[in-house]
């Protein structure tokens, strides 16, 4: 049911934990549905210097969290915001169809962490993003 890559990231998840003095925190999901992801990031010079995750969820949810933290390391904020849930699933060699909705929240958690960072910095989301969510206003 899961690809070898999913099982690898589930068994040996990368970047588990929480950055204590994080620059941005993203939390998505709902325990009622069985999936909650928390991603913390450290930003330096406009790039993601460090990313860690904590996840309550199934094998797919854990693998997705692990993969997204790995994909995002060293990326600029703009590049990081380009990472989609589908891209994360693709990087894992695909997910079972029924997992695409409920467990594939890694990119959402990452975006929330970046939004949180930008908000703290008093900045909005980069303007180029066509599907940017709320929180894009300059304060």
């Amino acid at each position: 049911m899961y690809t070898d890559k999913v099982m690898d990231h589930f068994t040996n998840p990368r970047n588990v934990g929480e950055i204590q003095d994080a620059d941005g925190v993203g939390l998505v999901g709902n325990p009622i549905c069985g999936d909650v992801m928390k991603i913390t990031i450290k930003v330096e010079g406009g790039r993601i210097k460090d990313a860690k995750f904590k996840t309550f969820g199934c094998g797919a949810a854990i693998a997705v969290s692990s993969m997204v933290t790995e994909l995002v390391l060293g990326k600029t904020l703009e590049e990081a915001l380009e990472i989609s849930n589908k891209a994360v699933a693709d990087a894992l060699g695909g997910l079972p169809p029924k997992k695409m909705h409920c467990s594939n929240l890694g990119a959402d958690a990452l975006r929330k962490a970046i939004e949180d960072y930008l908000e703290k910095q008093g900045k909005g989301l980069p303007e180029s993003r066509p599907d940017s969510e709320e929180g894009g206003e300059d304060s």
Partner: protein
């Protein structure tokens, strides 16, 4: 790698005696029991012998046994068969919220065909209250179907009391005994039921064969049209090998039932005690004592069942869970929810069902491996966090309270 199979409520390993008893009927003894020459009569004789064994194991009569293709089919036949054959008397059916889907979905199908249904609640131990059954009976009630023991949490229902109520009101009573047959004593007369379903592979018999016991005189509509097999209720050339295997398995299980019950109960309680001692924030699902000898069911807070199963599989332990991921829907187990468990707790369920091959060493191995696995998953879990209100999950309707109220 060591393999510890603790999913005996899902299926069991067929006994060697069962396989050996079946083999001739997959080969040289291939006659059709409905034909008249001696080779066919040989198959018919084997069928009759098997029917006799099953009847004896249930304290029933051979002609009351209908062999089916599964326990699910037996449940379908019982519920739809009784409802259709007795629909002139009434169109109301009573069942419980924790039945197997073979029963629940059969009843729901009938609801679409003009029948009315009552799905009784259960208490926090998964027990049906006989008073609720009695209160639900109307002049229109034709059938009550309550499982003998629950497949997920192992709670054994007060079947005799409910059967007594059903009889007093002139209502037929079916019990799904798929989890109990061959595991706890069954005497259909003592139980007082009118129909009882069982499945071969749950007591070390083969898959693809089950049976429905129908008390003499109880009307059940013919389920499969065709030839006159199985008392004219279930047409189709009999699965002779499967039926022979089922009968041998049942005979052997019933023969050693007393000692096996004692052995499994001891192992089960050892596992439950060990898990509780070693792992915090765990709850036992189901009744503490009125439960199947081989059933343990736990909920580990703050972790999700599928992650747990995958981690256990990595160390050779086979179990099952009622989490949404493993129940095949977005909802966790209907049984755990009916018992009042919150969704987030129900997602963390683990059923370990013991069986004939289970040894004390197996339980020790689980007790050695499980605490580390649970700790590892909990260390990865963001419990203690508030979840954003604009959640990405569309099924999120209500505020959760549990996860944020606990810290490790």
């Amino acid at each position: 790698m060591k393999l510890v199979y603790l999913d005996n409520a899902a299926t069991t390993k067929p006994r060697q005696e069962v396989v050996e008893a079946m083999l001739p009927f997959l080969g040289e003894r291939y006659g059709n029991p409905s034909s008249i020459y001696s080779m066919a009569r040989d198959a018919k004789a084997a069928l009759d012998e098997a029917r006799g064994k099953v009847a004896k194991a249930l304290c029933a009569r051979p002609e009351e046994i209908i062999f089916t293709g599964s326990g699910t089919e037996a449940d379908n036949m019982a519920i739809k068969g009784v409802a259709y054959a007795n629909s002139r008397r009434g169109k109301h059916i009573i069942t419980s919220a924790i039945e197997h889907h073979a029963v629940l979905d059969s009843v729901k199908r009938l609801e679409k065909r003009g029948f009315q249904a009552t799905f009784l609640p259960v208490d926090s131990c998964g027990m049906v209250d006989p008073k609720d059954v009695e209160a639900a009976i109307t002049d229109d009630t034709v059938l009550i179907s309550i499982m003998h023991a629950n497949n997920e949490v192992g709670t054994i229902q007060p079947i005799e009391t409910i059967a007594h109520i059903a009889k007093n009101h002139g209502v037929l009573f079916h019990t799904d005994a798929v989890q109990t047959t061959g595991h706890i004593p069954i005497d259909v007369k003592q139980l007082g039921v009118d129909l009882l379903s069982l499945s071969g592979h749950k007591f070390k018999g083969p898959k693809g064969v089950g049976a429905l016991w129908v008390k003499k005189g109880v009307k059940v509509e013919r389920y499969i049209d065709g030839g006159g097999q199985e008392g004219n209720k279930r047409a189709g050339t009999e699965n002779v090998a499967g039926i022979v295997g089922l009968a041998v398995a049942l005979e052997l299980s019933v023969g050693e039932l007393e000692q096996e019950t004692a052995r499994l109960t001891q192992l089960r309680d050892y596992l439950i005690k060990g898990v509780r001692e070693r792992i915090p924030h765990v709850r036992l699902n189901g009744h503490p004592t009125k439960r199947l000898p081989g059933n343990t069911s736990f909920c580990f807070e703050f972790i999700e069942g599928e992650s747990l199963l995958l981690s256990l599989d990595k160390v050779g332990i086979c179990g099952s869970s009622g989490s949404a991921c493993t129940s095949g829907s977005l909802e966790p187990s209907h049984v755990l929810l009916a018992m009042g468990l919150p969704h987030e707790i129900a997602h963390g369920s683990l059923r370990l069902s013991l069986g004939h091959e289970t040894t004390p060493q197996d339980i020790d191995y689980v007790l050695e491996m499980l605490p580390g696995i649970v700790s590892r998953l909990r260390a990865m879990s963001p419990f203690g966090e508030e979840v954003s209100s604009d959640s990405a999950c569309p099924c999120a309707q209500e505020e959760h309270s549990l996860v944020k109220s606990h810290q490790f």
